[in-house]
Amino acid sequence: MQRLLLAILFVITGSSGIAQGADFSVTSAEVQPKMVKIYGAGGIRGLEGYQSGFLISNQGHILTVWSYVLDTEYITVTLDDGRKFQGEIVGADPRLEIAVLKIDTDSLEHFKLGDAVGVNSGSRILAFSNLFKIATGDEPNSVLHGVVAAKTPLNARRGAFKTSYKGPVYIIDAITNNPGAAGGALTTRNGELAGLLGKELRNSQNGTWLNYAMPISELIPAIEDIIAGKTRPRSLNEDIARPDIPHTLKTLGIRMVPDVLAKTPPFVDSVTAKSAAEKEGLRPDDLILYINDRRVDSCATLRNEIELIDQIDNVTLVIQRDDELIEIVLQGE
C-alpha cells in the first residue's frame, strides 16, 4: 500500500527534482526500521559514546563507521523497535573507515547492498542518523534533507582532511557533520540507499566542517570481504595448513612492545637496523592494524598470523602512524 501511494505521488509530482509533493514521511517510515543506534566506548567530553548504523542483511549485519566507539567489548545496538542487542564486530576496514557489526537475530528489515544506487549533483537526498543522540529506545532516528552538491574524490583535499578514506564522496548540504551522525544512511527521496554518512571531518586549513557520505558502491567489495570472513585472522582456524619455513618477527626485523596484556595493542617497539622492515620505512610506535588483509588486534594475533606466512611470500602491513594509514610491503625471499 505504501509503495502504491509512493508510486501515485511520483506520478502526480512528475520527475522534477524540485517538486514538493514527494512524501518524505512515507520514505521515512520505510527507512526507519532499517536504522540502528550504536552505543560503545567514549562518553567523555568531545568523545561521544554513540554513533549510527543500518542493517544490511537479514542475518543481523550492520554497516557503520570504524571509530573509537567500537573500541570496546560492549557494543549495544538498539533497533528501531527499541530492542537492544549486543553487537559483535565482524570486521573492519580502516582504510575505508568502515566496520560491520552483527547482532544475534534475523529476519529484520534491511537495505540490500545490491540495490544501492548512485546519486548525482542536484539529487534530492535524505540523511538518517541518531545525531546528538536525540532518539533513545524505540524513538526513530533523525532525518535531514538536502541535495548532493558534488561527487568528488576526498583525497583531492589531502592534508586538509584527516581521513584515511581516499575515494569519492558525495558532498551534501544537509548538516550531517554532527556528533553521532557517522554511520547513518544517505538515501534518495524514495529511500534507496546511496551512501554511508562519514565521520566528522574538519578542514584543518580553514576550519570548515564537511558534510559528506561515502557512496555504497565504493564500500561493497570491502563489506563483502568482511562478511565472508576474509579479514578475520587465519590463525583462528585450528586446522589451517602451516608453511615449513614461515616468516618471524625476528627475520622481518620487527620488535613489538612487551606482550603484557590479554590483548596488547600491536605497537612496534623497535626496528632492526638494515632489516626489511627498516628498508621499507617501518618505525617505532607504528600500530599494526592489518597483515596480509587480516585484522590484527593484539601482539599475539600478529605473531600467530606471521607464523602462517611462508618466507617466500610478501608480507603486507597496514599501519597507523599518527592519523595516517600507511601500507608497507615486506618482500619475501
Binding site: G14, F24, T27, I134, G137, V143, L144
Partner: protein, 596 residues
C-alpha cells in the same frame, strides 16, 4: 522548427535582397532564436507550478502573523506569532523575560506596536504577550501538531540574528526531522518535552517564532537547537514547542500568571524487560491516593502508551500543574484505569524566586540554547509607556494581574447574568431525591447547614473550623462545599476571599476545557469550573485540607426557574467513589426574608 514570435516572423518577411542584410539577419535570428528554443524546452509541470503557488500562498499567510520582538532598546529580541485578531501572540519565555513588562513588536505591515506581557511559562519556555492598538491583527491558524509526521515539509518564520529591521521576517524551509522529541531542562526550567525537531534553520533570534507546516498553519514555537562545535548557529537540529502543548496551556497563558508544569509525584525507569516501572512515589501525591505504588508498571498516560522514560516525560511535560490526566497502570497484576491530579514541579515560592525581579540585570541576548541557561530574573519594571499602563497590573506572584482580573470578571459576569444569585442573599433550601435512596433536603443557612438525607441527618456549624467538618460521612464535606457554593454566589468574587483565574482544563466528565476559578475562603480552597460555551458552573472541588481528596460536585441539567438558571442534577464524588446523585425538585430561596 520552433515557432518564432511575431517580431521574428516580421523580420523574416524582409529578408530577400541584400547579402549584408542577410548576414545581419542571420546573426539576429541566431541570437534571438536560441533563447526562444530554450524557453520552449522548459516545460514546467502543472504539479510543480501548483506546488509553487501553494508554497507562496502559505508563506504569505504565515509571514503576516509573524511578530518580530524588539526589546532592551534594540539590543535584544526575538520572534513571536499572533494567535488572535485582538493581538495575543506567543513567544518564548527566554525572549520576553529580559524585556520586562512592555516591549515593541513589529509585523510585516511595516508598523511597530506596543506590546505587554500577559503570562510566562518558564518551564515550557513559553510566553504570551499582547500587541496593542488593533482588533484585526492577522492571526495564525493553529494546527493539530500530533498530526505532524517525520518527513513533512515545514518552515520557520522569524527574526534570526535580528535581521528584520525592515519588519520583513526571514523564512527558512526544511523538513520535520523528528516528532515527540524530549530535550532536558536546564535545572527545572526550559524543558522541551514532546517537541518537534526540524532541519529548517533555527538561529538566534528565531526564538519564540513560529514553525509552520507546508500549508502555513502553526505547528510549533521555535526556541532551541542542538549545537556543539560551531557556536550557537544552526547545525541542522532545531526544536519547536508543539502547538498542542501550548493549547493545553492556552487558558493558563491568558491568566496573567507565572505558570508551572506538572509532576506525577513519582519517578519511573525502564526495567530489564523494557517496561516502564515506578521507582519512587511520594505518599502525598494524588497518584499514591489513586493506588499507584513502587514497582507498578505504567501502561498509558495522557492517552498515550508508555514504552520509554522519554515517552513518559513527554506526556508529563505537556500538561500544566493542576490538570487531571488519564493514567493506566498494572498494580499486582490488576489493571487500574483512573485520572490523576498533577502537582507542580515547584512550590509557588520556588518558582517565584526563579523568575521574579529581585535585582537589576543587564538584558541578555535571547538565543536558542543548546544547553540552555535560564535567563536572568526579569529587570525591575521600568516606567511603562502610557499606552501600556492600562493593560498592566502588578501583583506578587503574577506576570500581569490585569489579565487575571479580566478573566475573573468575564467568567463571573457570564455566570451571574444567568443565575442572578446576588439578590437571593438569605437561606437556601434544596429539596429532591438522593439517587433511588429516598428524599433529601438541605438547608443552607447563615450559621449552619442542615441536611435530612436518606442515610440520616447531618449538619455543619459554620462558625467552627470548616476544614474539620466532612459531613455527611463519605462525601468529603458535601455540606461545607454546598455552603461555599452558596456563599461565593451571594458575596461575589470580591468578598469571598482570595480568588484568581487558574486557566482552563478538561475534567473527567468534560472534554471541553472548563474555565477554573480558584477561591480560598479562610483555609478552604475551592475550585469552580465553568463551561466556556454556556457560562454555567459545571463542577466544583472543595479541599478541606491539602493532601486529601476533595469533595467534587458536578452540576448539570440546568433549567430556568423564575428566570434563574438552576442545576437539577448534582453528582457528588469523593476520591474513587460516587457518594450520590442528588436530583433537585425544589429550590427555596429566602431573599431578605422573602421566599421564591
Amino acid at each position: 522548427m520552433p515557432n518564432l514570435s511575431s517580431d521574428e516572423v516580421h523580420l523574416g518577411d524582409n529578408f530577400v535582397t541584400k547579402p549584408l542584410q542577410i548576414i545581419a539577419l542571420a546573426v539576429l535570428l541566431f541570437s534571438s532564436v536560441l533563447p526562444a528554443l530554450k524557453a520552449q524546452e522548459l516545460i514546467v509541470p502543472d504539479a510543480v507550478l501548483a506546488s509553487q503557488s501553494k508554497r507562496i500562498a502559505a508563506i504569505k499567510k504565515a509571514s503576516a502573523s509573524t511578530v518580530m520582538v524588539f526589546a532592551n532598546e534594540g539590543k535584544g529580541g526575538g520572534s513571536g506569532v499572533l494567535i488572535s485578531p485582538n493581538g495575543y501572540a506567543l513567544s518564548n519565555y527566554h525572549v520576553v523575560q529580559p524585556a520586562g513588562t512592555a516591549m515593541k513588536c513589529a509585523i510585516n505591515d511595516g508598523k511597530l506596536y506596543d506590546a505587554v506581557l500577559v503570562s510566562i511559562d518558564p518551564v515550557g519556555d513559553v510566553a504570551l504577550i499582547k500587541l496593542l492598538g488593533r482588533d484585526d491583527f492577522p492571526a495564525a491558524t493553529l494546527e493539530d501538531s500530533d498530526k505532524v509526521r517525520t518527513g513533512d515539509w515545514c518552515f520557520a518564520v522569524g527574526n534570526p540574528f535580528l535581521l528584520a529591521t525592515d519588519f520583513n521576517p526571514t523564512v527558512t524551509y526544511g523538513i520535520v526531522s523528528g516528532v515527540h522529541r524530549y530535550q532536558y531542562p536546564a535545572g527545572t526550567l526550559l524543558e522541551y518535552a514532546d517537541c518537534i525537531q526540524t532541519d529548517a534553520s533555527i538561529n538566534p533570534g528565531n526564538s519564540g517564532g513560529p514553525l509552520f507546516n507546508e500549508n502555513g498553519d502553526l505547528i510549533g514555537i521555535n526556541g532551541r537547537g542542538s549545537f556543539e562545535k560551531r557556536g550557537r548557529v544552526n547545525v541542522g537540529v532545531g526544536y519547536a514547542i508543539s502547538i498542542n502543548q501550548i493549547k493545553h496551556f492556552m487558558g493558563f497563558l491568558h491568566s496573567g500568571r507565572i505558570l508551572d508544569h506538572a509532576t506525577l509525584g513519582a519517578t519511573v525507569s525502564t526495567d530489564e524487560n523494557g517496561n516502564v516501572v515506578v521507582t519512587n512515589i511520594s505518599e502525598s501525591s494524588d497518584a499514591y491516593r489513586r493506588g499507584l505504588r513502587y514497582g507498578d508498571q505504567l501502561l498509558s498516560f495522557g492517552g498515550r502508551n508508555i514504552t520509554t522514560v522519554n515517552g513518559f516525560k513527554n506526556v508529563l511535560g505537556i500538561y500544566p500543574r493542576g490538570w487531571r490526566v488519564p493514567i493506566s497502570f498494572l498494580h499486582e497484576g490488576d489493571r487500574i484505569d483512573t485520572f490523576v491530579r498533577l502537582s507542580g514541579v515547584h512550590s509557588p515560592e520556588e518558582l517565584l524566586a526563579r523568575v521574579q525581579p529581585n535585582r537589576q540585570q543587564p538584558g541578555g541576548e535571547p538565543m536558542p540554547e543548546g544547553e540552555p541557561k535560564p535567563p536572568a530574573p526579569r529587570p525591575v519594571a521600568k516606567e511603562l509607556p502610557d499606552v501600556v499602563q492600562p493593560f498592566f497590573a502588578a501583583r506578587r506572584g503574577f506576570a500581569n494581574y490585569h489579565y487575571n482580573k479580566l478573566n475573573q470578571n468575564r467568567i463571573w459576569n457570564a455566570y451571574i447574568d444567568q443565575t442572578k444569585p446576588q439578590d437571593i442573599n438569605g437561606d437556601w433550601t434544596l429539596r429532591g431525591k438522593l439517587g433511588n435512596l429516598g428524599d433529601a433536603s438541605i438547608v443552607l443557612g447563615k450559621t449552619r447547614v442542615d441536611a435530612d438525607l436518606p442515610q440520616g441527618k447531618a449538619f455543619a456549624i459554620l462558625d467552627n473550623d470548616l476544614g474539620q467538618q466532612e459531613a455527611p460521612r463519605g462525601s468529603g464535606g458535601l455540606l461545607i462545599a454546598l455552603h461555599l457554593w452558596k456563599h461565593i454566589q451571594q458575596t461575589g468574587l470580591g468578598q469571598f476571599g482570595d480568588v484568581y483565574y487558574l486557566g482552563s482544563m478538561p475534567t473527567p466528565k468534560h472534554n471541553e476545557k472548563q474555565d477554573v476559578l480558584v477561591a480560598t475562603h479562610s483555609v478552604i480552597e475551592c475550585r469552580f469550573y465553568f463551561s466556556p460555551s454556556t457560562g454555567l458552573l459545571t463542577s466544583m472541588e472543595m479541599y478541606p485540607d491539602l493532601g486529601v481528596d476533595p469533595c467534587e460536585i458536578y452540576f448539570s441539567e440546568y433549567e430556568s426557574v423564575n428566570n434563574r438558571m438552576l442545576p437539577r442534577q448534582l453528582e457528588i464524588i469523593h476520591g474513587d467513589t460516587v457518594y450520590g446523585e442528588l436530583r433537585l425538585e425544589d429550590f427555596e430561596f429566602n431573599s431578605n426574608g422573602g421566599t421564591e
